[in-house]
């Protein structure tokens, strides 16, 4: 399919550009990532919305008033609990542990498809355009009641793709 | 600065558009004032049928001449008016109406019209099945149906192409006369149009227009309600009226009504069922004088629905998609149209009071008014319809 895009950006492609992400106060610097597992908030539009602020037990996410303000992330307050991941209605919050292993990082992301993968499965990690960019090992599949049917999956991916992988390729249904 | 036209036509329904169209063919300069939008009055609130077999005998010749004009109008206007000549049937289930229909049949036959009174065999065949046959049916082969919207728009578009200026959302506020001669028309906006001739084709608002020139035009709104159904398979008889129609629309008296019929007639309900070119049925009819109250009433809607099902119970599951009300311009003196030049007022012409026959009489009304304005004479006698009939005979 021919998809030459003249303009970048979420409004034209559906994917926030690198510039939009880095300009968002929810998007941590690489330096912040190196200090431990923290969340990455990829919220770049002024939608009236603030459950991330309400749920964070550490006050690491502030939206304030009016609620169209972009969430401001305070990485130093974040302990990586990940409660915000399933509650974001836009599924725009992820957790990255850049230091998981020598050459691997982990990415945790919200997932609402069936079937779910199982721990230790090797699946395909996809980037924001849905392109499979690596193999990913499933480390955790969390679906407690309080997540209200949004599963949070944690996968291990090559370290250099930690800020690229944002989901996995959907698994084939059993017919 | 006033604009100048030969003729100002007040009213953009089928009558006004027909008048404008036929005038435009004569070379006269014409402006048409419509206070709302084209076809927004009775012209857009009827069944599109011409059941001439129920008309007053005086009106039938004029209607037949109109019907003749309609047969070629789609080609002439280059606009499909969905003209169909499928005839109509007038039916009854009530014994007391049988003499009414038989008398009617004789009258129509004497005029040389193409009608049949169904014999036993035909009565058994339709509606057929296990339904009780009708007691009497007059089938007219000369009745027609068309789309009143398309006919009105077709006339308006053709008039426009031939130079008529059509103004919508242009209510008339004043008509100026000088020495009992029409001088100009002034709109509510203040715009003035100098016209030596004005045609009142204002439907149920004819009286208001008449007041502007000191003429008492005895026309009042007669409310009618219609139910529209979803599309259905083509019926063998797409235009059906019931004998009560002669009573509610034409005041024909009958003895022997039962209580249910009395209640229906009190609401002006009589069966009038027309299937249009797309297959939708319009279910009518009702008549009451309610001023300009355009609301529907559940009693009338239910009354019409029940009456339909008493004839055709098989239509029970047909879905209604909408209903509406409209105002027939009814001449309260004698129920007949008022056509032609007004007495004592030079340049004022009436094309009013068509009641439920506006669509039927539009082409001839247009043609004859145009003739009278441009040549002073009409190719068809208008004596029965002139305003003079209201004036008392002076010794």
């Amino acid at each position: 399919m021919n998809q030459t895009r003249k303009k970048e950006g979420v409004r034209t492609t559906g994917i926030p550009s690198k510039e939009e992400l880095e300009a968002s106060p929810g998007y941590p610097s690489y330096e912040a990532l190196t200090r431990g597992p923290i969340v990455v908030i990829e919220c770049v539009q002024d939608i009236p919305c603030n459950p991330c602020e309400s749920i964070c037990p550490k006050g690491a996410i502030r939206v304030g008033n009016p609620i169209t303000r972009l969430p401001v992330f305070y990485p130093e307050e974040c302990d990586g609990c990940g409660n915000c991941i399933p509650i974001c209605p836009g599924q725009a919050i992820f957790r990255v542990d850049i230091n998981h292993a020598e050459d691997k990082a982990t990415v945790s992301f919200p997932y609402e498809y069936l079937p779910l993968p199982k721990k230790n499965d090797i699946v395909q990690g996809v980037n924001r355009t849905g392109e499979a960019v690596c193999e990913a090992e499933v480390l955790r599949v969390q679906k407690p009641r309080k997540f209200a049917q949004t599963t949070v999956i944690t996968v291990a991916v090559p370290k250099e793709l930690a800020m690229e992988v944002r989901s996995i390729k959907r698994l084939k249904r059993m017919e | 600065m006033a604009k100048k036209f030969d003729v100002g036509v007040i009213g953009g329904g089928i009558i006004g558009c027909a008048v404008a169209y036929y005038l435009s063919r004569s070379g006269a300069s014409v402006v048409l004032f419509e206070k709302n939008y084209i076809c927004s009055g009775a012209s857009g609130a009827n069944q599109g049928g011409m059941a001439m077999q129920v008309f007053d005998l005086k009106t039938i010749p004029l209607a037949l001449a109109s019907s003749e004009l309609y047969s070629g109008l789609s080609d002439e206007l280059d606009y499909d008016i969905e003209y169909r000549k499928n005839g109509s049937i007038l039916v009854t289930r009530d014994a007391y109406q049988v003499p009414l229909l038989e008398r009617r049949y004789d009258e129509l036959k004497r005029m040389g019209l193409d009608v049949d009174l169904w014999d036993e065999n035909k009565l058994r065949r339709f509606p057929g099945g296990d339904r009780e046959p009708f007691l009497a049916v007059i089938e007219s082969h000369f009745d027609i149906q068309l789309s009143p919207f398309r006919a009105t728009y077709g006339l308006a578009f053709a008039a426009k192409r031939q130079g008529v200026k059509i103004l919508t959302n242009a209510p008339v506020a004043q008509i100026k006369t000088v020495k009992k001669k029409i001088h100009s028309v002034v709109l509510e906006t203040g715009e003035e149009f100098v016209c030596g001739n004005v045609v009142c084709a204002a439907g149920p608002w004819a009286r208001q227009i008449g007041q502007m020139v000191g003429l008492d035009i005895p026309v009042e709104p007669q409310r009618g309600q219609i139910i529209v159904t979803e599309q259905a398979a083509d019926s063998e008889y797409p235009y059906i009226l019931d004998g009560s129609y002669l009573m509610t629309a034409y005041g024909v008296k009958a003895v022997g009504e039962d209580e249910a019929a009395r209640k229906r007639h009190a609401m002006g309900i009589a069966g009038s069922y027309a299937q249009d070119a797309a297959g939708n049925w319009t279910i009518g009819s009702s008549r009451d004088m309610a001023g300009f109250d355009k609301t529907n009433s559940p009693e009338v809607l239910k009354g019409m629905a029940r009456h339909l099902l008493s004839f055709f119970p098989g239509m029970k599951d047909l879905n209604c998609i909408r209903f509406f009300a409209g105002f027939r311009p009814y001449c309260v003196r004698d129920g007949h149209p008022i056509l032609g030049r007004a007495p004592d007022l030079s340049g004022f012409y009436l094309a009013a009071g068509h009641a439920g026959e506006g669509v039927a009489l539009a082409p001839m009304t247009g043609k004859l008014i145009a003739e009278e304005i441009t040549t002073g004479k009409t190719s068809f006698p208008l004596d029965d319809f002139r305003y003079e009939r209201f004036e008392s005979k002076r010794p």
Binding site: I47, C49, S54, G90, T129, A148, R166 | N296
Partner: protein, 363 residues
């Protein structure tokens, strides 16, 4: 003829909250809905809502629907289900069709919450089985649990198009593409991002030219359009799809409001012809209120707040609320509504709503 104090026409998000508020205040309330159960569009909204805590952000629409049903029952709201309101007559009489007979219902107050209808897009082949509204698709997959097809083209990248595309993926279908005639995506970027990361392409500046197939849709032909929405020759692409979903906007279902004689205003930002209302959701006819998508196409969250406002105002007008309490609570609801109508996605609606309320004072 039946009687009620407050008749609520439509038991969706706005209708239910209106009924709950006025019933809690003490009024006798009847919801009339043509479906088997109330809830309107809520039960199809299986995604989590935005907004703030008070707007129930993070909760799925379907859960909110269940909660409202329970609250309505607890508040003593009467319901007439499988019942169509076919007309609204003078003196606030409603004409009802229930099963095989009609009835009339007299009421002191009518709250119209009849929602909206999907717009259609016509193109050659649009009557082939397989072309359907995105909202209808959403009902089919989320309520009836049936897939309309496995390979889908979504036309329209507003929130409905994006959300339903996502839900189609969840239901196991493949959305081959989302196309949008505008040069940008009108819906929330986050909804678009969700489907992009699932591999669904979103093509802006594209329209559907025609649907092809013998007995049902087999292919869709799409093409790029220029600024005048004219197809650019040579840009045609053929997509092998079985279903073409149309997500091209909603229009208020306003027949009853027209019939009642409400004043209307034409506001494209709110979906076209919208009945005008004041700051209490009352239209120009005393005792008739409007709420939800009928009063302008917005969202479930605004529908619920408008419903509450209308219900509260209606109950107050009948004397069920002391004026000071009524004033305070209505003000709070107006603030909550205002909070939903800000930002680049909301301010257009806020402006349009102000125009709508000004139209009440005209002529």
């Amino acid at each position: 003829m039946g009687k009620t104090e407050i008749a609520v026409v439509g038991g969706g998000a706005a209708g239910m909250t209106a009924a709950i508020e006025s019933a809690r205040a003490g009024a006798q309330v009847t919801i009339i809905d043509e479906n088997e159960q109330p809830g309107g569009q809520l039960f199809k909204q299986i995604h989590k809502f935005f907004g703030s805590g008070v707007h129930r952000a993070g909760t799925r629409g379907v859960q909110i629907g269940r909660d409202l049903l329970r609250e309505a029952e607890e508040a003593g709201v009467q319901t007439r289900l499988n019942t169509v309101v076919y007309g609204i007559f003078p003196d606030k009489r409603l004409g009802l069709i229930c099963g095989d007979h009609t009835e009339e219902l007299a009421s002191e107050i009518i709250i119209l919450a009849t929602g909206a209808n999907e717009n259609a897009l016509s193109f050659p082949g649009w009557t082939l089985p397989g072309v359907m509204g995105a909202g209808a698709t959403q009902t089919l997959i989320n309520i009836n649990r049936v897939l309309p097809g496995r390979r889908i083209l979504m036309v329209g990248a507003g929130n409905v198009g994006l959300i339903v595309s996502y839900q189609l993926l969840q239901a196991g279908a493949d959305v081959i593409a989302v196309i949008e005639g505008l040069s940008y995506i009108g819906g929330y970027g986050v909804h678009a991002s969700k489907i992009r990361r699932a591999g669904v392409p979103i093509l802006t500046g594209f329209t559907v030219l025609r649907a092809e197939g013998k007995e049902s849709v087999e292919r869709a032909v799409i093409a790029q359009v220029d600024e005048k929405w004219q197809p650019i020759s040579g840009s045609e692409e053929v997509l092998e799809v079985e279903t073409i979903c149309l997500a091209v906007g909603l229009s208020p279902l306003s027949e009853l409001a027209w019939m009642a004689g409400c004043r209307f205003s034409f506001l494209p930002a709110l979906g076209g012809w919208v009945p005008a209302h004041d700051e209490n959701m009352q239209c120009n006819l005393p005792g008739i209120y409007v709420a939800g998508d009928l009063a302008g196409i917005e969202e479930a969250s605004t529908a619920m707040e408008e419903g509450r406002l209308a219900g509260l105002a209606a109950a107050e007008s009948l004397g069920y609320l002391p004026p000071e309490e009524g004033r305070k609570r209505k003000e709070e609801l107006r603030n909550r509504l205002a909070a939903l109508r800000i930002g680049s996605f909301g301010e257009g609606r806020a402006t349009a709503k102000k125009k709508l309320m000004r139209a009440m004072c005209e002529k």
